[in-house]
Amino acid sequence: MFSAPVLNYSLLAPILIVLGGALLGVLVEAFLGKTIRATAQLGISLGSLVLAFVQIIRIHSERSLSAAVNSVAIDGASIFFQGTVLVLAFIGILFIADQDNFAAQASAIPGSEEERSAIQTGKQQTEIFPLTLFAVSGMMLFPMATDLITLFVALEVLSLPLYLMAGLSRRRRLLSQEAALKYFLLGAFSSAFFLFGSAFLYGYSGSLSLTGIANAISAGNGNDIFLLIGIAFLSVGLLFKVGAVPFHSWTPDVYQGAPTPITGFMAACTKVAAFGATLRIFYVGLSAAQWEWKPIITTISILTMAVGAIAAIAQRDVKRALAFSSIAHAGFLLTGVIALNKAGLQASLFYVVAYGFTTLGAFGIVTLVRDSAGEVTDLNRWVGLGKKSPLIAGTFVLFLISFAGIPLTSGFIGKFSLFNAAYESGNILVVVVGVLSSAVAAFFYLRIVVMLFFTEPTSDSVTVVIPSVMTRIAITVCAVVTIVLGVYPSLLLNTAQTFANFLA
């Protein structure tokens, strides 16, 4: 007999609202005229994100494992991660709203007559908005999924729109399309790895749910080879998404090629979702097998911190540099995974929020530095920006200082709480490597500060454009959050403490 699944719609409403908004966006794209389309899309996107967030707040104290046939968990961590994705996506949309960054007609071949006429007639397509919403819904599902199939579906739902979005840049379209293709191919590989790992874990435990796998590990009668292969391949899939060494090589290329607002969105929100899922898988599903995977993940975490920090120094392009910095931050976040304690989870929750805002803000500023041909990402041409536009350069320095983890910024509190959790769990080596690679990373961030402020500007046509109202709001919010969470972190730390739990 086949019985209809029982769904608890109010608990699933946040995702459903976002999906609904995305579908509405597709209809709008198809039927609405070009004059009001962009406005309508923006309204729908922001509106559905706000509605979903309101619903998150309404259900924030609900706890349930059976909201959708035991395949998603409504618990503290999943509520927190969903809320974080929504808020960061809201800011991300404000940057995306600046349509100037995207190809007018994505299907037109770069440099073709079709493309030129699309730009001339102002036929700006706005499919970027529904695509973003689809990605957001996947990002919300990923951290709450409790079985391997749902995890895989969520992974695909969040990845597929991102592959497309990475190729939508208006300028340097070939580079953008190359990035999209690279991201897609490597992403497909990693998905395959994830699926392969899932199959082995199923073979080991006879269960797809994380709890079932955890029980099988505790019982210990399965074939350990299957378990090891399963963990290894599943980890590869996850580590690819978070951009950990040695699965990081796509990050700089994709970050550089994708339109900058998308890069910011990807860097912030994907990391939140991917770490949400990673934390759940390792904390809930695999914690009993920690002696198997902990040494490997510890090594990867150390490598990621070190390679990210060192490679960043050699970069000449600001987007690539920020990409390597995001790799280093993935390494820091992995220390929260290894910690396997409540402090580690709490610290990770805080860190993703702090990091998300700072990252969005930093990429937001990159969109403002332009010359006649579009964005300028060559760091050598950023020289002396502090003189041309002290406020923008100063804000960028604030974000860099937060990345570097200097006190009175959110980045410092985040790093402190992560290292504290790692130390508590006995991983002193990780803490030492962490602080040392922070010192290396600081050198790289400072080099940019020197370029911006202490080097005489060359006679170059680089200018800082006047930001649109939405961009201005978004950057201001990011800067304020970065400072407030640095000076008075209790606001978020207490929330993170309340929500730092997994239902199993």
Binding site: Y423, I428, S438, F453
Partner: protein, 501 residues
Amino acid sequence: MSIVTTLELLPLLGAVLLAVIPKSNAELAKRVALATSLVTLAVAGVMAYKFQVHDSAMQFVQSNKWIASFGINYAVGIDGIALVLILMAAVLVPVVILAGWHESENGKWSAKVFYILILILETMMVGVFAATDVFLFYVIFEAMLIPVYFLIGGYGRGERAAAAMKFLLYSLFGGLLMLAAIIGIYVIAGNQIGHTFDLAQLSTLTIDSATQNFLFLGFFIAFAIKAPLWPLHTWLPTAAKSATPGTSILLLGVLDKVGTYGMIRFCIALFPEAAKTFTPMIIVLSLISILYGAFLAIGQKEINGLIAFTSISHFGFITLGIFAMTSQGLSGATLYMVNHGFSTGALFLAAGWMVSRRKSSNIEDFGGLQRVTPVLAWTFFLAGMSALALPGLSSFVSEFLVLVGTFTRYPVAAIFGTTGIVLAALYVLIVIQKSLHGPTTPGNEDLKDLNLREKISVAPVIALLVIFGFFPKPLLDAINPASHTVMTHAGVTDPAPKAGK
């Protein structure tokens, strides 16, 4: 609200006030900054007056919750050691502002920004000495790098950006090691007495000796970079050559003292056993610093570099006094910190005026200044005499106490240290002979002597050097109970004096 908090808020308030003053009105900005620093000095004076010298406990204590989930408090309080250092900072800031009235004009940014940075720095200088919460201390310790970075990089001379970078990277590196150690002690506290960063509570922990050694090193390396101890000193001469005189005074006079202060407050108080373990190594490093700094000072051709290397030598003395582990040595070291602040301050002021008049910082370019600019020459002379610890000037008292305190426990180290005094005479007298005496070097004939503003600004410093040289009692009265407390807590007693035969 404790008076210490008031003292922290005042300069910050001034900085906010400066921020709203129009950029074009530099003169007003300078006056507001000076007035703020003078008010701060007055409040610091009131605080000193209210301070109970015989009470060895922390005074003017205040504690408010800051980050509750980590047990972090905004907790301040001062003992005699912190008091004298805060007072020194409060005296030096108005001196720096008044003496360097035109210092901010060659910078990359407006004068206003310069003074905002200075006042923010003053807030942090008070805070760093007053913090009794280790986390709060660390936050200020790191955050104060940023204003200094911009002061050197934005207003300095020569290779200022590189010097600022070197300074910041060195300090940040040390600070991050300290962060690892702070996390370590926090976790240990969590296992023993519950999560706290309170200094008094942390010093009651029992930590096994291996862990204690590592944590001690984490703190000590950070402080040894700050109060540059050989071989971690290389950032200092670069920074001193590039910074403006005012920045140099605050950097060497006050900020570097955070290092030596931290050794007392954290290294010894939190890890007394490890401190004893590492004492021989640290004493050797101190002696190397004393001699190395002195020898390199003799060889310097650049006047700011010379002052920087003399400071490295003096920091060697201070560290020697601290780790001699006698209350005499510790009191001497603390007194040395204050005196070094004033005497280096006077040296940098005089040297800064010489450089800005002559447009060169090479010692060779000066000569016969005592005939052309007698007041400036005498100022430099007195400051130099204080640097070589001439009896009658305040440095003598502290250097003597350090050596006596060291001798009672480590006679050989004290003897080596004493050779530093001889070398000090050499490096000071050589530069004085070259720059002040002899025939007037061509190009120096028309140099102007100090004007009234400059005289007023340097007068209090010179006066303090002389007064504390003859009458160091008020300072020692404040310092002695605190250093006894530190030594008692560390579980060491002064060696009994050997009876003469």
